[in-house]
């Protein structure tokens, strides 16, 4: 089991957001987590990535059998957990490529591998940028500095492709993308699909799942996973909305 979440509860600023999440993700799988606004989807992503202002109040999470919650954020990342941010932050003056190279080398160092040299790295990143149809001006720009919403999301996927995580959690990576950008981003994610890796997509829209076909779909509402199913569940959600899932639970 790559990721095992058992009874996970967490609160933010004193408010209970996650109320006992159970989820298992095996290597090779793609899971989609859907749900109405405020249901706790992004909180789940942030808690898994190790954001400090989110307080875990109960439950456990293992990543490849290790206690994930015991690790600080940077070690989770180096162990192969990647979070594609919903709102990637701008870091003015810090070169996009510089950050990415530092990230890759931090990961390599933790794995006892030699650091990548500048030439190797440039070749690698150019290849991935081509895949993501990004212009070479990205090489010289600051991290997300002045990027459009779509460019920021592409940049997240680019980082993911370079870092090759075991588990990628993509938090609304599809929001704000036009159809062409959505295709490119999806292609990027699909290129990473592999029997050793898994992807968790957090999304509002079924549309993304036309391009990245999930193995399982979960409905998160009010801090709990109410229903799980296969791809057809997403289509049903698109047709019927979320209310029926919530109501069927109450009943």
């Amino acid at each position: 089991m790559l990721l095992k979440i058992s009874g996970l509860s967490a609160r933010v600023a004193g408010k209970e957001i996650l109320k006992g999440i159970n989820l298992e993700v095996k290597a090779g799988e793609v899971h989609a987590i859907m749900g109405p606004n405020g249901s706790g989807k992004s909180t789940l992503a942030q808690v898994l990535a190790g954001r400090e202002d989110y307080e875990v109040t109960g439950g456990s999470v293992t990543f490849e059998g290790r206690d994930l919650l015991a690790l600080p954020a940077e070690e989770r990342a180096r162990a192969g957990l990647f979070l594609g941010f919903q709102y990637p932050v701008e870091i003015p003056g810090v070169n996009n490529v510089y950050l990415l190279k530092a990230a890759l080398n931090a990961k390599r160092k933790a794995a006892g591998e030699p650091e990548v040299d500048a030439y190797e790295f440039l070749a690698l990143i150019k290849q991935k940028m081509k895949l993501m149809q990004m212009s070479e001006t990205f090489l010289t720009r600051g991290v997300n500095e002045g990027f459009s919403g779509g460019e920021k999301k592409r940049n997240e996927v680019l980082q993911m492709l370079v870092l090759e995580p075991k588990l990628a959690i993509l938090d609304e990576t599809d929001s704000g993308l036009d159809i062409d950008a959505l295709k490119v981003v999806s292609m990027g994610v699909n290129s990473l699909r592999d029997p050793k890796r898994a992807v968790v997509l957090v999304t509002h829209y079924q549309r993304l799942l036309d391009y990245i076909v999930p193995d399982q779909v979960h409905v998160l509402s009010a801090g709990r996973i109410l229903k799980s199913g296969d791809r057809s569940l997403a289509l049903e959600l698109e047709r019927r909305g979320y209310d029926w899932v919530v109501e069927s639970q109450v009943a």
Binding site: G50, A73, A77, L83, Y98, A102
Partner: protein, 482 residues
């Protein structure tokens, strides 16, 4: 999860790296200040009469002055009678004639500071006029510079060898009675550096002086004078470090720059005086007057400063833009951590037609520090077509520090253009978490974010010092995010 705030405490608690004391016999005057002390200093240095008169005038003026209190800094009153105004390392016989004759202990001190005179100077092509406490002990590359016609020597040597230049230019930019600290310096300055570039001479290398305060309870009052004659150009770097002590030490320097027609002077400072400990005990009081005058047409003076040290910094490197089309620039990174207080900025005084100035100030505050930008852009009626651009950005790390901005503008010519941009931002938890999530350590992340913030200023530093400045910044701020 390991607590980030614990790491921060540990990192902030990092010891000041240059905090060692060199055990050398000093030839010092006892604490206290009166006319006798001023005369004694002048006598020790065998100065000509004009200089003694100049000092005495400054001293008498100083006695009538009040210590300025307008800066946004707080400190216990300084007892000017409790300071020794002269301290020189005692040489075995006379002054060393070459670097081989310099006390090896002194050279070891420089090595600890990261400036081995033998090696690094040669490799980096930098001439170092190293000021130890108050007297210059070694000057390298004098010969090479001499061939090019450049005079680069200690202030004392200049007084002896080039008295006519000193008499002509000393105090011509910062008059002896300019302000309280400048007047004090004028009365008791013990040494410093002098640079003169004859017409048309481009200095073949970067010039550099390292100042270091060693003896306890001595104020350091050095004086730097740089004159670039018509068409000459020079880049000068000053680096400063001081040992750790519990008591505060006063540093009141004066720097004067004169640029004649078409001349250029680039003056860069990396200031790393002891800032005091994490509770605000000890540290240097840095009250410095720096001013350059673009006296000639098309002349240009640039100040670049990276200020990471000192308990208190009071410093406003300024430009008087007298010559037509002359240009003044000020690029500054000021870091204040723990209980440091910095009140720094610049003055751009536009007098000549079509004069231009640029001000870029980056203030970084962490811990309980107070960081103030104070700037004046003054455009006189004669300065038709003058232009100024000012950008002041502040970065706050943590919730207990503060940043203040006091930009003053006086525009008395309607054809002038003055632009001002300002911003204050916090090192966001978001930025930090973003980096952590990419596997980058908190320490590296903070360095990266801060360097990004300071990039435009670092670009102005001579290459070999940009790296040093960046390192210094990391040391000063390591983990200062809470």
């Amino acid at each position: 999860m390991s607590s980030k705030s614990q790491d921060v405490e540990a990192l902030i608690g990092q010891k000041y790296r240059h905090g060692f004391v060199t055990d050398i016999e000093s030839d010092s005057l006892p604490p206290g200040l009166d006319e006798g002390v001023v005369r004694a200093i002048s006598l020790k240095k065998k100065e000509p009469a004009f200089l003694l008169d100049w000092r005495l005038k400054a001293f008498r003026h100083w006695q009538t002055m009040q210590e300025p209190m307008w800066a946004h800094v707080h400190y216990k009153p300084i007892d000017y009678q409790d300071i020794s105004y002269y301290s020189a390392p005692r040489a075995p016989q006379n002054a060393p004639k070459s670097i081989d004759e310099v006390d090896p202990k002194l050279l070891a001190t420089y090595a600890k500071l990261g400036i081995p005179l033998h090696e690094r100077a040669r490799l980096a092509g930098v001439a170092v006029d190293a000021v130890f406490d108050s007297v210059s002990v070694a000057t390298t590359f004098k010969e090479k510079l001499g061939k090019a016609g450049v005079i680069f020597c200690s202030f004392s040597d200049a007084v002896r060898d080039h008295p006519q230049l000193i008499e002509r230019y000393l105090g011509s930019v910062v008059p002896p009675g300019d302000n309280f600290f400048a007047a004090l310096n004028s009365a008791v300055f013990s040494d410093g550096s002098f640079v003169y570039l004859p017409p048309g001479v481009r200095c073949p290398m970067e010039l550099s002086t390292y100042f270091r305060i060693n003896a306890a309870k001595t104020g350091q009052f050095e004086r730097t004078l740089i004159v670039a004659a018509e068409g000459a150009s020079v880049s000068y770097l000053e680096g400063c470090t001081a040992p750790m002590r519990d008591e505060n030490q006063l540093h009141a320097a004066v720097v004067e720059l004169v640029a004649l027609d078409d001349a250029r002077i680039k003056y860069s400072t990396v200031q790393n005086w002891y800032p005091g400990d994490e509770n605000g005990i000890g540290g240097i009081y840095n009250f410095v007057t720096k001013r350059g005058e673009c006296r000639g047409r098309n002349s240009r003076i640039s100040w670049t400063q990276v200020e990471t040290g000192s308990a208190i910094t009071w410093k406003y490197p300024s430009c008087i833009l007298k010559g037509e089309n002359s240009v003044g620039e000020f690029y500054s990174v000021a870091v204040a951590n723990n209980y440091q207080q910095a009140d720094t900025g610049t003055k751009m005084i536009h007098i000549g037609r079509n004069t231009r100035s640029t001000i870029v100030s980056k203030g970084i505050s962490a811990g309980h520090a107070e960081n103030t930008y104070r700037g004046l852009v003054k455009i006189l009626p004669s300065a038709a077509g003058a232009r100024n651009f000012t950008q002041c950005d502040s970065l706050l790390m943590g919730a207990k520090c503060a940043a203040h901005t006091f930009p003053y503008m006086e525009v008395k010519n309607p054809t002038a253009t003055v632009e001002h941009e300002a911003s204050t931002s916090k090192i966001g938890e978001d930025q930090l978490f973003y980096c952590l999530q990419r596997g980058i350590s908190a320490e590296d992340a903070v360095n990266m974010i801060v360097s990004g913030f300071c990039k435009v200023v670092f670009k102005e530093l001579p290459m070999e010092f940009a790296v040093e400045a960046q390192n210094l910044l990391s040391v000063s701020l390591e983990g200062a995010v809470g």
